[in-house]
């Protein structure tokens, strides 16, 4: 590979592995936004790690020229936290789907928000499980009956990613649409520049199991620019609760101390061994 040119292009951050995603999948837009953001930040690919779990969107690391870790279902944030703690010098991006992040990985989502490590978490939310053939996910509307697994609907309220991230303590919360890679690229840049845990929920249509989501491009609209982003959690909560989930933009930004390793007086193995002597 050639050294990164002074003005890297987005495609410098792509690999030669061809995505398995269905043509028309919103995840292509997210991949493009990530590569555009990294080109804008002029980050050498080897200084960025992209960590994912399992699902359609979790395939993303292999499609990039970054260091990737395609782990197991739901645990991407934990892998990312361990990597960031051990290697604070790296830029850590975590990406995945709504099932991966909010269902099987829900606990890690809560704790990643409150831990406030300096990393960016991108969830490609299509309100469905794609790789297992179209089952309802946590963000699926309760009245969606198209899955054979839940023929009467989910019987559960849909998960509210932004509101929950806010309650759990995320310090940067945004929502975006995959059909607008340039806008999303800007949000990713802001998220990566934010000191702390940045969460971006990306509405990313699934043309195969949720073809009705092709209409999202006509529905999404920005949050009122005069009110958001805010650093007031109450105002952010109000917008999250009042919104139908289709408004996009940065919702909440808070300056809070970023997780860092605990500082202790330097010691050596010899010093430690001395403790066991009389």
């Amino acid at each position: 590979m050639n050294p990164i040119p002074e003005q890297p292009r987005p495609k410098d951050y792509k690999s030669d592995v061809k995505p398995v995603w269905c043509p028309g999948c919103g995840d292509f837009g997210v991949l493009n936004a990530i590569t555009k953001a990294l080109a804008s930040l002029r980050l050498p690919p080897e200084q960025v790690a992209l960590i994912s779990g399992i699902g359609c969107s979790s395939r993303v690391p292999a499609y990039t020229s970054l260091y990737g870790f395609h782990g197991i279902h739901g645990r991407a944030l934990a892998v990312g936290a361990g990597l960031k703690a051990a290697r604070p010098d790296l830029n850590v991006l975590v990406a995945g789907g709504d099932g991966d992040g909010f269902s099987i990985g829900g606990n890690h989502f809560l704790h990643a928000c409150r831990r406030n490590m300096n990393m960016t978490y991108i969830v490609m939310d299509n309100e469905v499980y794609g790789m297992t053939k179209g089952q309802a996910s946590p963000t699926t509307a309760p009245d969606w009956t198209q899955s054979k697994l839940t023929p009467s609907g989910t019987l559960s309220r849909a998960f509210q990613p932004a509101a929950i991230a806010l309650a759990a303590g995320a310090t940067f919360i945004a929502r975006a649409f995959s059909g607008k890679p340039n806008t999303l690229a800007q949000l990713i840049v802001l998220a990566m520049q934010h000191p702390g845990f940045a969460f971006i929920q990306v509405l990313s249509p699934c043309p195969t199991f949720r073809p009705e989501q092709k209409e999202w491009k006509n529905i999404v609209r920005p949050f009122p620019a005069d009110e958001l982003p805010t650093s007031d959690p109450a105002l952010a909560a109000l917008h999250c609760q009042r919104d139908d989930g289709m408004s996009t933009g940065v919702i909440y930004v808070e300056a809070r101390p970023v997780w860092s390793r605990s500082e202790m007086e330097k010691t050596t193995i010899e010093d430690i061994e001395q403790e066991f002597r009389s």
């Binding site: 260091y67 703690a85 809560l110 002597r277 009389s278």
Partner: protein, 577 residues
């Protein structure tokens, strides 16, 4: 190792509930005995209450390193008998035993009285109260010092040191109690001198299995640990937290065990040797992540401090019943390494070795410690320093495209560390080709399965695979914390004219069948000793290996540790259950 349990070891149990300070007294006694030149071991027995429950400090002293309980206790000092029925069976007594008990602490329980032990009522609480800032446990320490000959000055010095933070009046009170107890002890006609070997007492270590595992991991290079609190492993995490930070590392208390194992995967992927510490329930939660370590060839160390199972089981007591899950717990075929320390001090070596194996072989290594090793403290020789030669093989930039999972011949392929330009790759738990690209191809699957398996079976584990001692046509094959009791049993069998070989496996998987075969050459009778109900170790050995001659198995589940006596009986009688 030439350590032997001395059959003339002195065993002392301190018993008392709620705030009696049994564990503090036990620790002070162990430390004072070390200063006087004795080797020792202290185990703890505790009830389920967080505070105020019954508690016992079980102490053993000898002139050589001692790793197991004797068959009975010569001396019991009881402040009271609250819930004593829960653990009296852990304190076997004979008519030769002596029980000092405070009559204010209630009647001597029937199972203790029944043993025929000499019962000596002696007030401990009352004189402590009389002294003011005194405690009954200090009276007891004074008593024990007089009976065993442990120097009161040594104890006084220990007390000064450990209580100085609590204020002058506390120290004065404790010292007055020590002296009163010693005077009371001298008035009794009980003489149980503590065995000492004063040579080199200064260099002796006092260490618990949990601390030793932590130390070994640090020496092995671990600089990242993630863990979730769990009995009986939490103490290792607590010990590691400040020491990792002090040595340039980091410990994270994770939200659960699923996070723990995945966090260490992330750290190790980043090039930092990483470990998690748990017990059975946590290991069960971690198995999917351990499989990911195997498939993605990311080195990790998982220390499982075993406790009674299944489910929540008996968290405070020891058992060897996680063997099966450690060996077979992963779904799919996930070859990995399982090691187990054979003594408290060996926890340091085995943990260090585990890190070396994980790093060298780029796989998951499970260390099976157990509650008995982990929460016991020993006074023993300093564990030897080992320098392992092999390390993690990292990728260097070359002209051709980097293949993370290259089939290079020796099957350990160079691992690129994030930050290295031109070598980026995606580690994957999906089956993959040599580059790491997901593949469902039969050939890729077969080749990568073979790669992950043969790198383990072809590795030279040296002599560390087992501790082999003695000769004879009878052999005991055992592992883990059973080893100490087996060693003492073998000593007794030898004294009775039956030479017995000891083979204590340190490397449980991959099983070194060739070396085991050599170690068993000329043997016509094998006794397998383990602390399980269903004979997991015995079945494992027999599934992989033809044990020579007559085979027997002495298997018993926790919570009681196997005693040298029952093992020796089994060896000498020639029958096992």
């Amino acid at each position: 190792m030439n350590s032997t349990s001395d059959s003339h070891a002195l065993s002392i149990a301190l018993v008392g509930s709620g705030g009696a300070g049994v564990v503090t007294a036990g620790n002070l006694l162990l430390e004072a005995a070390r200063a006087d030149g004795s080797f020792g071991l202290m185990r703890r027995s505790a009830g389920p209450q967080i505070r105020g429950g019954e508690s016992a400090a079980l102490l053993h002293f000898a002139a050589a390193p001692v790793e197991c309980a004797g068959d009975y206790y010569q001396l019991v000092v009881a402040f009271d008998w609250l819930h004593a029925q829960r653990f009296v069976e852990e304190i076997p007594l004979t008519a030769a035993s002596c029980v000092l008990h405070d009559p204010a602490g209630g009647d001597v329980p029937e199972p203790i009285a029944r043993t025929g032990a000499r019962l000596v009522p002696i007030e401990m609480h009352a004189p402590a109260t009389e002294i003011g800032c005194g405690r009954a446990n200090m009276i007891a320490l004074g008593l024990v010092s007089a009976i065993t000959g442990i120097k009161t000055e040594t104890l006084t010095e220990m007390v000064n040191r450990s209580l100085s933070a609590k204020g002058e009046s506390m120290v004065m009170g404790a010292r007055a109690c020590l002296e009163r107890g010693a005077a009371l002890g001298r008035s009794l006609d009980i003489d149980l001198p503590i065995p000492v070997d004063p040579d080199g007492a200064d260099g002796r270590w006092m260490i618990s299995g949990n601390e030793a595992c932590g130390l070994g991991a640090l020496k092995g290079g671990v600089r990242f640990v993630a863990g979730y609190p769990i009995t009986p492993a939490s103490e290792m995490l607590e010990w590691l937290a400040p020491r990792l930070a002090g040595t340039g590392g980091c410990l994270i208390q994770a939200e659960d065990e699923l996070a723990s194992v995945n966090m260490i995967l992330g750290a190790s992927y980043g090039g930092v040797p990483a470990m998690t510490v748990t017990s059975g329930p946590g290991l069960a939660l971690m198995t999917e992540g351990i499989g990911l370590a195997v498939a993605s060839e990311t080195p990790i160390v998982v220390i499982d401090v075993m406790r009674g199972g299944p489910s929540t089981g008996i968290p405070t007591k020891s058992e060897q019943t996680d063997l099966n899950i450690a060996l077979y717990g992963m779904h799919g075929e996930a070859p990995h390494v399982v090691v187990a320390p054979v003594s408290i001090a060996d926890c340091a070596f085995t943990a260090q070795w585990a890190v070396n194996l994980a790093e060298s072989l780029q796989t998951a290594v499970i260390v099976l410690s157990d509650q008995l090793l982990a929460q016991s403290r020993t006074v023993t020789h300093r564990p030897p320093d080992i320098d392992f030669i092999t390390r993690r093989v990292t990728a260097q930039r070359r002209d051709e495209a980097y293949r993370r999972y290259a089939l290079s011949g020796d099957e350990v392929s160079a691992m690129a560390i994030p930050g290295s330009a031109g070598l980026s790759y995606t580690a994957d738990g999906l089956e993959h080709d040599e580059r790491g690209t997901p593949s469902t191809g039969a050939e890729d699957h077969l080749r990568q399965l073979d790669k992950r398996s043969s790198k383990l079976t072809g590795f030279d584990y040296g002599d560390h695979w087992a501790t082999v001692e003695g000769d004879g046509e009878v052999a005991v094959v055992t592992w883990g914390s059973c080893t100490a009791a087996v060693r003492e049993a073998i000593r007794r069998a030898g004294a009775a004219g039956l030479p017995v070989r000891l083979i204590a496996l340190r490397l449980l998987a991959p099983l070194r069948t060739k070396q085991l075969s050599q170690a068993l050459a000329g043997v016509n009778r094998v006794l397998v000793v383990e602390q399980t109900f269903s004979r997991q170790f015995y079945h494992y050995l027999r599934s992989r290996f033809d044990l020579p001659g007559r085979t027997e198995c002495l298997a018993r589940p926790g919570p009681l540790p196997l005693s040298p006596g029952e093992i020796a009986d089994c060896l000498l009688a020639g029958t096992a259950r």
